[in-house]
């Protein structure tokens, strides 16, 4: 399944989000989070509306959007696969899980599968070292993974 809003961004929705936060100090970050939730990522048309609405320059908005690693200015897959690359996961065999994911999805880190389903990312720690090696897909965390089980997990999302 491809991303819901690909091509047509619902700018009315963006305007509505901006209107709700307008005038509040520090409105930009909550607006960007909500816009990303609504649209899937932060396309330029949406950031232009955010800039106009909040009285900021597009460069300022873009600066903030590119500073935070969980804000995306490029289209993303429906599910983000976040692989932990820290030491505890590593010693528990994360590299094999990573290799399997890369092979299975056919993309490298930072890329999105052609069907628009998965985006692959590295993270420093998921905070679940007790069940290392761990991977997060969307909002769910999976632990004690092996090359075999990670393929099975992926299947749940396909």
């Amino acid at each position: 399944m491809a991303r819901e809003h690909e091509g047509a961004v619902d700018l009315g929705r963006v305007d509505e989000i901006v209107a709700r936060h307008k005038g509040r100090e520090g409105a930009l970050l909550p607006v960007l989070r909500e816009v990303q939730d609504a649209v899937g990522y932060l396309p330029q048309e949406a950031l232009e509306r955010v800039a106009l609405g909040l009285g900021l320059s597009l460069s300022q908005v873009y600066g903030v959007a590119t500073f935070y690693s969980l804000l995306y200015t490029k289209p993303k897959g429906k599910y983000t696969v976040r692989v932990c690359e820290s030491a505890p996961c590593h010693v528990q065999g994360a590299q094999e899980v990573i290799d399997t994911l890369v092979r299975e999805l056919g993309i490298s880190f930072g890329e999105t599968t052609p069907d628009g389903l998965f985006t692959l990312e590295k993270v420093s720690c998921l905070g679940v070292c007790g069940v290392a090696p761990a991977v997060m897909i969307g909002d769910r965390v999976y632990g004690n993974l092996t090359p075999e089980t990670v393929v099975a997990v992926l299947q749940e999302y396909r």
Binding site: S57, L58, S59, Y62, G63
Partner: protein, 574 residues
């Protein structure tokens, strides 16, 4: 304000509480090197070059940002401090190109000066340059992020001083780069091309587009009749390019030096500044009589014009239709002057010397060809002219003073003060008063509109007619004023806006270094020029009178409309 005692390198000083270590050190006569610090900006504390030892503090502290406390003991010259500063600068250099000799800021680069000051003789880190392409998209500015040290001084200026924020840090950490949104070309964003970022930049990451080669070529071409015009502000700043102190007036030497370079005629933009007053003053009177649209907004500053085209397109009917003095000059040089002296306008090559990077953009605007040719062929900044003088081996100080050529070199004090904030307003008032009241103006100095205050307001009595005027300089101030106008407040009749702080003397094309302190000294020079000149009202300029008699007819007449007036283009807001 309570005071505190601090000891810096063994020297005890008393400073107001809340001062930074840097300020206290200045009081103690101790120099601390800085880079992201700028005298006209708020503290950023990002570059860490100014680190010092503070007794009882675990780590080194940034002197520019660290507040003093009573009894504080600071050491600025210890092995740890020297090593830390050197490492910081070496790390910057490890990401900075080594081609200083080929850089426009060679010998005027703060990073270079810092490396020398700290005794850097080798960079102990692996060189890894920022792989970022040069932006040559505009006719005015060249942006080279590979030379950027991410000090954020231009970011401050673009946002706080100019109210534009076209440049902003994007990405994160090691990847941080100061760019327009989406790494766009400058020509595609809301940039006014004012060039104030150049004055903010410690390195060569932003410079003017150098057009000197085109001028050398024209000067070397015997088929070309090459004329030059010099903006009002240039005579008050050009001396700095020859090493003279800010505030030195060099009118006569500048004319002499331009003749040495080989220009066929040395003319003066002050002449068309006077002409602007005739046209714009008449436009003001016409709008007052016919009811609008008011307030009339000045149109001399091309950075301001581009700014209002982007951000307040609904106010474009308020902008004077007068071309800027530069463009009026170009149009007349290839028509009136050509006809009068039997020259083929196709052979006339018009060079402007301007305080301004946005003037390069203005001259390239597609509508600026009312002579049938491109009205102004090349615009040089005062920095570029200084460069040409040095290349030509002209010893500025030894030159005898010379006079401008007739007739486009005849001007008044009113034309001269165009170079300082409030000058266009003052010049217009001198003429408007006499045109409206038919009486002689006794007190020529309208001091209420002079000086560095960001927004200046005054009510002028034209013999019963009360004229509410305002002056703003620096685009952030312009924005504040325009928001007021857009809300329908203020009841203004006439507003002068200059894009750059201090007006043209502080323009983006002016000598490095331009700070507010330097601006004030240049402004003093501008008013000395005004006082020096025998005629101080535009409408009394004999060459202007003759121009109307021989050629234009009357202000706002058909010929004026065709050659001296223009229109504007709404642009995108984001």
């Amino acid at each position: 304000m309570p005071e505190v005692k601090v000891t810096i390198d063994g020297i005890e000083v008393t400073v107001p509480s809340g001062s930074t270590i840097l300020q206290a050190a200045e009081r103690a006569g101790v120099r601390i090197p800085t880079l992201c610090h700028h005298p006209d900006q708020e503290v950023k504390g990002v570059c860490r070059v100014c680190v010092v030892e503070v007794e009882k503090s675990r780590t080194l502290q940034a002197a520019c940002a660290f507040p003093v406390a009573d009894g504080m003991v600071v050491r600025t010259n210890t092995p740890a401090v020297r090593e830390a500063r050197r490492v910081i600068v070496e790390l910057m250099l490890s990401r900075h190109p080594e081609n200083c000799l080929e850089c426009a800021r060679n010998m005027k680069c703060e990073l270079q000066a810092l490396a020398e000051e700290l005794g850097v003789r080798q960079v102990r880190f692996e060189r890894k340059l920022k792989d970022h392409p040069k932006d040559t998209s505009t006719p005015a500015l060249i942006r080279d992020p590979s030379k950027c040290v991410v000090c954020r001084r231009c970011v401050y200026t673009c946002e706080k001083v100019q109210g534009v924020a076209a440049l902003w840090p994007a990405y994160r950490g090691h990847e941080t780069v100061v760019v327009p949104a989406y790494d766009s070309d400058m020509i595609d964003v809301v940039c006014a091309l004012c060039g104030q970022c150049i004055h903010a930049c410690p390195t060569g990451a932003i410079t003017e587009k150098d057009d000197t080669e085109q001028v050398w070529e024209a000067l070397g071409d015997p088929s070309k009749h090459v004329v030059v015009q010099t903006a009002p502000a240039i005579r008050a700043t050009l001396g700095e390019e020859a090493g003279l102190p800010p505030g030195t007036l060099v009118t006569g030497k500048m004319v002499a030096a331009l003749r040495r370079l080989g220009f066929d005629r040395v003319f003066d933009t002050d002449f068309t500044a006077d002409l602007t007053i005739m046209e714009e003053g008449s436009e003001l009177i016409h709008r007052l009589e016919t009811g609008g649209p008011l307030p009339l907004l000045t149109s001399c500053s091309p950075g301001w014009v581009k700014f209002i085209e982007h951000f307040f397109p609904e106010l474009l009917p308020n902008v004077s239709t007068c071309k800027s003095p530069q463009q009026m000059f170009g149009a007349l040089a290839k028509t009136y002057y050509a006809e009068k002296f039997g020259l083929d306008p196709a052979d006339i090559f018009v060079v402007s010397v301007m305080p301004c990077t946005a003037k390069k953009f203005e001259a390239a605007r597609p509508e600026m060809n009312s002579s049938g040719y491109r009205d102004v062929d090349v615009v040089l900044t005062s920095r570029e002219l200084g460069r040409m003088f040095r290349q030509a081996g002209i010893d500025f100080e030894k030159l005898e003073e010379e006079e401008f050529d007739d007739p486009l070199g005849v001007s008044t004090g009113a034309g001269a003060i165009f170079g300082a904030t409030g000058g266009v307003m003052e010049a217009a008032l001198r003429t408007a008063y006499e045109l409206v009241t038919k009486k002689e103006l006794k007190e020529l100095d309208f001091v209420a509109v002079r000086g560095m205050a960001g927004i200046k307001e005054a009510t002028v009595d034209l013999d019963g007619v009360k004229l509410n005027v305002a002056v703003a300089h620096g685009l952030a101030n312009a924005r504040t004023l325009m928001e007021k106008v857009a809300r329908g407040e203020g009841d203004y009749h006439f507003i002068e806006i200059m894009a750059c702080p201090g007006g043209c003397i502080g323009g983006g094309g002016q000598p490095i270094r331009t700070t507010n302190e330097v601006r004030e000294r240049r402004i003093e020079a501008i008013y000395r020029e005004d006082k020096r000149l025998p005629i101080r009202k535009s409408h009394e300029n004999p060459a202007i009178k003759k121009l109307y008699e021989e050629y234009l007819g009357e202000p706002l007449g058909e010929k004026s409309h065709e050659l001296l007036h223009t229109h504007y283009t709404p642009r995108k807001r984001v």
